[in-house]
Symmetry: C2
Subunit: 353 residues, 2 copies
């Protein structure tokens, strides 16, 4: 399958982060080079790079870029800058926990060396950590694919919402990794992609990467998922997640909760594919997951043209929470969590710090 | 409340049909004058006029326009032209039964006079019949409002899908007639409008007419309906219908079936408001209702910009069917049908031909 690299680091310590600008897809394939942490922050904020795992990797490299401005500084100055840069990046988007998880890893790496290593060695260790996060993300995608593919045995049609594909990660994706792996194993699959309003990640990104990789995809509006299920065109639903609480409640792109309810109503299994870094065990259940509210203009001016009258109210939550009871299984890099409950999750994630 | 006339006839026998061009809303308020049946056909086909009841009224006037080209012809020539014009208009859109119902009324009117009246008298009778259909549509809206308003007692938030408002009829709408009447009776209501992809009738039309009439409206993407219900922001759902089978299965804008499932999952009543002309008792259940498939470009190039890659599959059914078991009640101009089943429907519609 075609290699479509969502992001990569170019150069060594004084390098830069190269990203596919996902806001330009599918019309244009444009890579941008981020040379400053501000550019990374802007890329995350405006969804040039998006998807919980990819945001984590981008933020880790963003930390490295943020430290380049104090190259040659002493240890305390470097650590002060690190604090500033991680706090800054943490404010880019509130829901995906992988962002905070990656920033924490970067801070822990520096803390372990503080006072014991030169600023240069700390900087080098931070780049190595960002690369490790990146490489682990690749491995995670492959592992999720391997664990998830058997769940699609006998399935002909899969429905997905938003983009939990290669473009949401450093490699193969989470939800789509399962599809890619099953296809590599010889299965024939047809993917039904919800367009995913307001920002159309399904139409722009999921349909694009599936098509680029030679997999049959049919695009539908979000409002058509129910009828596609009723017509028995899909036998499984797989989505990603942006944050999963200790009990299995999963925040994901707005609309996922509705799709999960519709799947349940049609007796279709609903799977969530996400790395362990997406779990936030500090949160008991979905009620406590912060939900990002985005600009009303995404809905009212979404296609480059005003499509709603002035002066009306608009509600634009970027995510919703699917309760654990609606999730048939969670596929993570360590295996399949099923049933989805506190005990199974604790059993699989038990050795997490 | 502000008067926004969806369509009206200007002049006498040699008149023309004036329509609000709904494809230009909300950006521009433009009225177009149809002087030929071809213009009416095009207006129906391209959704300049849409909504099952309004399509019926427009088609009736369209018949009158189609006969103007044979003014002065003899009786047989007039009736031959009538056959041609009604067949032509019937092919404009396949799902809304009100179209066929209105065309049948026009044909019956002519048939009753054929051989007994002059061509001029037949032409005059046909215009009178179109005006009667128009006036009955007005009365129907008011009656639906009166019957439905009590169902909203205690309700603060109502969710609706697509546009079953004034713009879908000659007057007050069907679903929105219930809202307008309740508000006129002093109730405070907040309407949550699904934007209704692909053509955004909710964003462009429902939000527009509610706002113009001074009613609080919040626009959401279709994918947000589930979370709005879960957050207990709505206590009732009301939609229109394009065709209702003898058992109560109701075809309506794509997405309605999903909304009905979500309402059921949250214990929220789901009402359908539609005139008796929307019932098609010749059809036993929803399976037999023809579903219009529309141009994939409505999804891939919505609003002037390409938002999906070339070469992918697209599925674009314009309607879906909500099974009777998910419909709490149907509100028609004769009263409230509840429970929704063959017996209750037959009882209310019993004297229909």
């Amino acid at each position: 399958m075609k290699n479509l690299e969502t992001l990569h680091w170019k150069g060594e310590e004084s390098g830069r982060l190269v990203l596919i600008d996902q806001t330009r897809l599918p019309g244009e394939f444009v890579e941008i080079e981020c040379r400053t942490v501000e550019q990374v922050w802007e890329a995350i904020k405006t969804l040039r790079v998006r998807g919980a795992p990819a945001i984590g990797v981008a933020a880790a490299y963003g930390v490295c870029l943020g430290l380049q401005t104090v190259a040659g500084a002493d240890g305390p100055a470097l650590l002060a800058q690190l604090d500033e840069v991680t706090a800054y990046l943490a404010a880019s988007r509130p829901t995906a926990v992988n962002l905070f998880w990656a920033l924490d890893r970067m801070k822990r790496t520096a803390a372990a060396l503080a006072g014991r290593a030169s600023p240069d060695r700390i900087t080098a260790a931070l780049l190595a950590e960002a690369r490790a996060i990146h490489e682990e993300d690749r491995q995670m995608c492959r592992a999720i694919g391997r664990h998830g593919a058997p769940l699609l045995k006998g399935v002909e049609g899969v429905l997905t919402h938003c983009n939990a594909g290669g473009l949401a990660t450093a490699d193969y994706g989470t939800a789509l990794a399962v599809v890619y792996t099953a296809v590599e194993q010889g299965q024939t699959l047809h993917v039904w992609a919800d367009e995913t309003r307001p920002l159309l990640q399904g139409a722009r990104l999921t349909a694009w990467e599936l098509h680029e990789r030679g997999i049959d995809v049919t695009l539908i509006c979000d409002s058509m998922a129910a009828v596609v299920m009723r017509e028995r065109r899909v036998q499984a639903v797989i989505t990603g997640a942006d944050r999963i609480a200790a009990n299995g409640d999963a925040a994901n792109k707005i609309g996922t909760y509705g799709v999960a309810l519709l799947a349940a109503a049609h007796g279709i299994p609903f799977y969530v594919a996400a790395p362990t870094s997406t779990f936030d065990l500090s949160i008991a259940d979905g009620e406590a997951i912060p939900i990002e509210q985005r600009d009303p203009a995404e809905i009212t001016h979404g296609f480059g043209r005003q499509t709603a009258p002035e002066g009306i109210g608009v509600y634009n939550p970027a995510f919703d929470v699917t309760p654990a009871r609606l999730i048939t299984a969670i596929i993570c890099e360590r295996g399949v969590i099923r049933p989805v409950d506190r005990e199974q999750i604790a059993a699989v994630l038990g050795d997490e710090p």
